[in-house]
Symmetry: C2
Subunit: 242 residues, 2 copies
Amino acid sequence: MQSGNIYDFKVEPQDVDFALRARLAAMCGNILNIAGQDAHRNGFGTDAVMKQNNSWVLSRLAIEFDYLPKQYDAYKIRTWIVDSGRIISVRNFVLSDAAGGVFGRVTSQWCMINLETRRPCDLTPVLDACRQYVFDEEAPCEAPRKLAAVEAEATTEHRVVYSDIDFNRHVNTLRYIEMMVDTLPIEVLAEPHAIRLDIHFVKESRYGQTLTIGSRHEADCWLFEIKDNDGAVICRATFEFR
Amino acid sequence: MQSGNIYDFKVEPQDVDFALRARLAAMCGNILNIAGQDAHRNGFGTDAVMKQNNSWVLSRLAIEFDYLPKQYDAYKIRTWIVDSGRIISVRNFVLSDAAGGVFGRVTSQWCMINLETRRPCDLTPVLDACRQYVFDEEAPCEAPRKLAAVEAEATTEHRVVYSDIDFNRHVNTLRYIEMMVDTLPIEVLAEPHAIRLDIHFVKESRYGQTLTIGSRHEADCWLFEIKDNDGAVICRATFEFR
C-alpha cells in the first residue's frame, strides 16, 4: 500500500502560461493547497491549529519537475507526512500523469508558529494525536539544499501589497516564487525544461515593506536572495534548469 | 426551472486575505473560471474555439457583492448565457450561500477574437450551435456602466511580467483587478463592505509593457484608468463601496 492520500487534478486554463504549459507557481499553488487540505482532512489543518492561536508556515521546499504539464492534462498528487522531530514536520508529494508516470517530486519542511509570538511550537502533541497519518516512506527527492548568501548581479524591487498577503498575515509563498520567476529571461520560461527549485524561508515579510529581489546566474542555475528594507534576508532560492 | 448550471464552491485558505475573508480577485477568479468551465462543458469553450484560431476575451464586467464570504464558507455559482447579438455574448452569474441566500450578482460581456487578427468574430454560428444553452432570464444586476475617462489624482506603475500573462497572451483580468485593489487604502480593504465593480476592457496589454494605473477617489467610489506606455487606455474601472 502506498503512503498517504491521492488527489486528482487537471491543468486548468487559469494555471497555464502563454505557451499553454502549467506555470511553476500554479503547480506549487496546487501542491501547497493539497498540503493544507490533507492536514485539514486529517485533523491538524490550519483551522484546527488556529484554535490554539497557532498556524503552519513553510520553512523549506524542494521541487523537481521533469516537465510542466499542458493545459487540460490530468495528474494526481500523492502526499504524506513523516516523523521528523519536535520542530519540523516533513511532508512529501509525488505527482504522476494519467498513465501513472511520475513527473514531479516534492519534499517540504513546515513549522508551526504561535501567531502572537511568531515563534515555532513543539510539534510532539500534534504528531502524537495523528500517528496513523505518519508514514516512513522516504522523500521522493533530495532534501532542500543549503543555500548560501547570494552576491547579486541584478536586483529588482517589490513593494508588498494587499494581494501578496495571506491568512498568515505575511507574504504568500507563491508570491515569492512569482517575484523570482518574473525576473528570469522570457526565453528560459518559454522553453520546456526539467527544473529543480530549492527555497529556504528565513524571515516573514509584511504589508508595506519594500523587498529587494537579488539574483545571480551561474550555468544552469539562477540564485535568488530576497531582502526586506532593513537588509534582513527574507528567503533564498535556487532555480536549476536541466 | 432555473436557467443554466450550478457549481459548488468553498472559500479555500488560498482565497482569503489577512482578515480571513475571500479576496475580491479570488472570487472573480472563480467566477471567470466557471465561465470557462461552463462553456467547455457546453461545447464552446476556449479549447473548442481555439481550433478555429479564436479565443474568448472579456469585454465588460459588472459584479455586486453584498459581502465577501469567510474562509471555509460554502457557496454556489449559477451561470447562464443569453442571446445578445452578433458580437457580444452575455453571461450572467448568481452566487448564493449555504442557506440559499443570494449574496453576489454578476453580468459579463464577452467577445470572441481571432488570435491572428486580434479582431472580434461573428458569434452567430457559435450561438446557433448551442441554442439549448441560451436562456432568456434577465441579468441579476444592472449592466456594466459606461465609464468615462478618469482624471487621475494618483498613479502607480506596473511592468507587465510573465506571471501576468495568460493563455490569451495578454494580461489576465485578475491581474488588473489586483493592480487596482492594491492601490486602495488598506482600511477600506480591512472593513466589510458591500461592493459593486464595473470594468471595461478597451485594449490588450502585453509582456514587457509598463502600465500606469491612475486613480481618483470620489465619495464611496474609486475610479481607475490603466494606460500603456503609449498612453493608450487599456481598461477603466469603478469600485463602489457601500
